[in-house]
Amino acid sequence: MAAQTLFEKIWESHVVRAEPDGTTLLYIDRQLVHEVTSPQAFEGLKLSGRRPRRPGATLAVPDHNVPTTDRSVGIADPLSAIQIRTLEENCRDFGITLFGMNDIRQGVVHVIGPEQGFTLPGTTIVCGDSHTSTHGAFGALAFGIGTSEVEHVLATQCLVQKRPKTMEVRVDGTLSELCSAKDVILAIIGKIGTAGGTGYVIEYTGSAIRALSMEGRMTLCNMSIEAGARAGMVAPDEKTVAYIKDRPLAPKGMLFDRAVQAWQHFKTDVGAAYDVTVTMKAEDIAPQVSWGTSPGMVTGIDQRVPDPRTITDINQRQSTERALEYMGLIPNMPITDIKIDTVFIGSCTNSRIEDLRLAAQLARGKSVATGVRAMVVPGSGLVKQQAEQEGLDRLFKDAGFEWREAGCSMCLAMNADVLQPGERCASTSNRNFEGRQGAGGRTHLVSPAMAVAAAVEGHFVDIRTWK
């Protein structure tokens, strides 16, 4: 048999039927559902009299709208409350498992999937959310879809797809201390651009990727969509197996052993060809800070804000000028001179226990700078519980950080956690688009370590030399 890439193996094992022109009916093993992109899908099912084909293949959770403050008082915003109630009603009507707002297992959809053992190697996973790429960290083909396709998968457990191209992003070498998966993916996006991965599925390879923990790989794959790729993936290995073992929804006993055996297949064969390969050296990656309004507008902490006058391409120059105006930054100013008002540690990119452990250790014995508001939003109720058992909440609170309930929170500010116009935020989330964290708000994307240092100093600092 011809040598195949990881992607090709997953794709081929999910083809229900293929037309001569390549149009493929692809089987979807599992779907995650949240409150924002599902109401119209369930409404569509009701209007057409259709039922979910396999309700037991879908898991639902509210995350975007949930308050990160005391939930016993309910949701102040009536529209948010209706959306969450609608999800509860739809799950009840269609027999779908829901982790409700007051369930300890509730959390950001892309945190709870892996946490519960829902996410498995070699599977196809979709969700009406672009950061579904996160689950590719397990060697799954996982991608975001629109609401019409959420309905399509509920009704048929399939999607009509054209086979994407494959891109290898190979990162070899050793990251410098306190440089993280977040810095790697931001540097990759800075290199290939926000449309560089359009039409591709990315497989991340190389020694620096292998060295990442499972949670680091999730951070990496999470932002594949910010490079334009609907999916990113890392081949499963012994770390993957160890992470999955004994999780609530993972196979157990002999079935687990059989699954582990099958997962050995899911790696790219020697001699298999990708359509494109991009390489980077881990040693070249400095802690990253985004300066603009697109995740590709990013640079190392030891660099300066770009000067549009030195950019020859007119489109690029205009978009840089526009971004700097929105961000209120001066060309050529050192990144370390950028002062911040707010710090947000959270989101499906960086809100897992390892992120919180590292952030808490760095915050230990320090204080958030005067005038800076800093908040920590764990990725799930279980992450929060774990962190509290380890005393991380005390370290954060003692340093002046707010410690909150789990949810998407200020990553997209659909709940009450919103930036004010002009407010500048160091954020561990994934998008620095205009207004993403609140109309007029200014977002700088960074790693959790860089966010803590910025909170303490009131401006960005190089975490590699920070004392």
């Binding site: 089987y27 879809i145 629109g146 009704a155 399939c158 609907r230 659909m414």
Partner: protein, 207 residues
């Protein structure tokens, strides 16, 4: 879904690159549980000035672009969030066609689910049209899906590529789920085979 065959429409220009779906429809409009009525949120932040009043310079606020049914824009349109509210808002505003030099994948796909035709043209073709739209009041384009062409007022015709299956579905206004359900036997056969190969994938998450 409404079929799309040919249309002649007034063109509205959005001369920007990397327009993300957070700009097309900001988050506060995603709390709806309906597909309709999203026009109010379309480019909400860009339509307004700093004091909150409508910005007369923004294209959608200009009288000459009222009634536009074709949106002309630049590279990587619709990047970011998968929200289908973006095509819903464009449709609610009256746009049936979006022409750009490139699209983000999820947005491109979402258009087809809603009877909107996204057309990718070469960057120089888009730039030439952009210039003409701005200098020519009442600028219209003729879009012909069957022949895969866009024709300008001076008679220049640009050809575009489109996946044959998507073209057929849009041209005939087919129900995508209904089409898939015609393959019920193939889906069931696949499930039977996979259940034997990988039974752990069929564990019921409800139990």
């Amino acid at each position: 879904m409404q079929a799309f065959t040919t249309m002649t429409g007034l063109v509205a220009p959005l001369d920007r690159v990397n327009v993300d779906t957070d700009q097309i429809i900001p988050k506060q409009f995603l709390k709806t549980i309906k597909r309709t009525g999203l026009r109010e949120g379309l480019f909400y932040d860009w339509r307004k000035q700093k004091d909150g009043s409508q910005d007369p310079a923004f294209f959608l606020n200009q009288p000459r672009f009222q009634g536009a049914t074709i949106l002309l824009t630049r590279d990587n349109f619709g990047c970011g969030s998968s929200r289908e509210h973006a095509p819903w808002a464009l449709l609610d505003q009256g746009f049936r066609c979006v022409i750009a030099s490139s699209f983000a994948d999820i947005f491109y796909n979402n258009c087809f689910q809603n009877g909107i035709l996204p057309i990718e043209l070469k960057p120089d073709e888009v730039l030439a049209m952009m210039k003409d739209v701005l200098s020519t009041p009442g600028y219209q384009l003729i879009v012909d899906l069957g022949n895969q062409t866009v024709t300008t007022p001076n008679g220049t015709t640009c050809r575009f590529d489109i996946d044959p299956f998507r073209k057929d579905c849009l041209y005939r206004g087919l129900d995508a789920i209904g089409l898939t359900l015609q393959h019920e036997a193939a889906i069931a056969a696949y499930e039977t085979r996979r259940k034997a190969e990988a039974p752990w994938l069929f564990a019921d998450l409800r139990s």
